[in-house]
Symmetry: C2
Subunit: 241 residues, 2 copies
Amino acid sequence: MSMQESSGVALWRQVADGIERGIADGRFAAGEKLPGEMEIAETYRVNRHTVRRALAALAERGLVRAERGSGTYVEAQRLAYPLRSRTRFSEIVGAGGHEPRGQLIEAGEDIANREIARELCLKIGAPLIRIEAVRLADRTPICVSTTWLSAERFPDAGNVFANVHSMTKLLGHYGVKDYHRASTRITAAIADATDAARLDLSLGRPVLVVDATDVDMLDQPLVTKRSRFAAERVEFLVENG
Amino acid sequence: MSMQESSGVALWRQVADGIERGIADGRFAAGEKLPGEMEIAETYRVNRHTVRRALAALAERGLVRAERGSGTYVEAQRLAYPLRSRTRFSEIVGAGGHEPRGQLIEAGEDIANREIARELCLKIGAPLIRIEAVRLADRTPICVSTTWLSAERFPDAGNVFANVHSMTKLLGHYGVKDYHRASTRITAAIADATDAARLDLSLGRPVLVVDATDVDMLDQPLVTKRSRFAAERVEFLVENG
DNA sequence: TCAAGTTGTCTATGATACTAGACAACTTGA
DNA sequence: TCAAGTTGTCTAGTATCATAGACAACTTGA
């Protein structure tokens, strides 16, 4: 018997994703015992060895734990991430009982392409500061983001961010007392090699890609950014009404 | 030279995803010529044959078109999908210049688990109608959704939906004049085999998973649903303030 | 016309992925 | 204690993945 789907995704990986989805949506509760390897193999119509490889991958990521002679058990949970007009990473993570951390990867200069120029109401080719940062809850990386600011309005923003480790504090440094989210666009993709490494994700894992622009109290654009969230670690909450 | 990452995702697939991302975020504009196979191979540090397999996969999905002796050219676009309090699939798709279509896959009975009971303010074990449907823009499937309604309040809802092909019309049939979105939760996952087939996606493609509950004008819950959107075909827009 | 650059097709080889079967090591409950 | 059920480990064979090189077929621009 053979399974040729030729999707470019290994069978063990498909099984692992299936089990992970089961964990994420509650079919397998935390602490609960998974079905036996044989039963999983029959469910997915694959060999037991293929299931073992899937479970090994999940175990390595800390989602399950195998106990010889007994069974394989679940251990996981996702971070709830509300998308509000006032979106602050530190507050959201703190509210979830975790310690928020930010880490600068790289800061440099850039020039505005058409898209960024439109978002920030600048001219194409205008000088920008580009900040690459990773944000964590406790010791788990949650997202990496690329942030662009006008280099004219926020000179030396890269160095300031390196000191304060927070976008809110950075803006405060330039006299911005408060700001809020003007637009948010969400889609999903597969993490590229760089992001996967920074998020401590294995290759091929999905990320939620969020393009957002923050404005001040007069609706003047301040910063625009593209964040990539590890899909397996967060769940966005959109609150209407 | 060798590349052993052993992520469970074939190299050609990683290259294909990388190029697709480039198309999605505008690095490669529609109609534009991609870099030559040799150049792509050098970029990703893989063999030219691996690049060819990636391009073949993209060509089969209609994202690119190869012309012998000349080059490989892009052809694609994503559907903008605003997430508002008043979210109507048909209006969104229609506004984008496409023809919205809905298709019933299956309707049946179900009983409320804890999560659904909470969303619909019912007791655990309460009888439900479960509707599986796929929704398309022109002839392209955009999302599949599983919708749950109280079987007491909406008796025979499955047959009604089969006739009207629209959730808005179904609710109208029971006297609900207007409704709006109460909560929306978004995450991403890999499409399972069933969803992949229904969305005409190859295995391993990411989907945006949306859990949402609609309420009437008195904030009484009407329906709760879990939709899976083909990530490569949509882009969610969250509009704040 | 022609050279340079492009995609298309062939052969070949080694590494991984998947299947298959067998048995060991261990846990649990009767 | 013991049988049934669990995970862990070994061997082997087949198919797919990825690499490598060579050359054909075709397009483009000088």
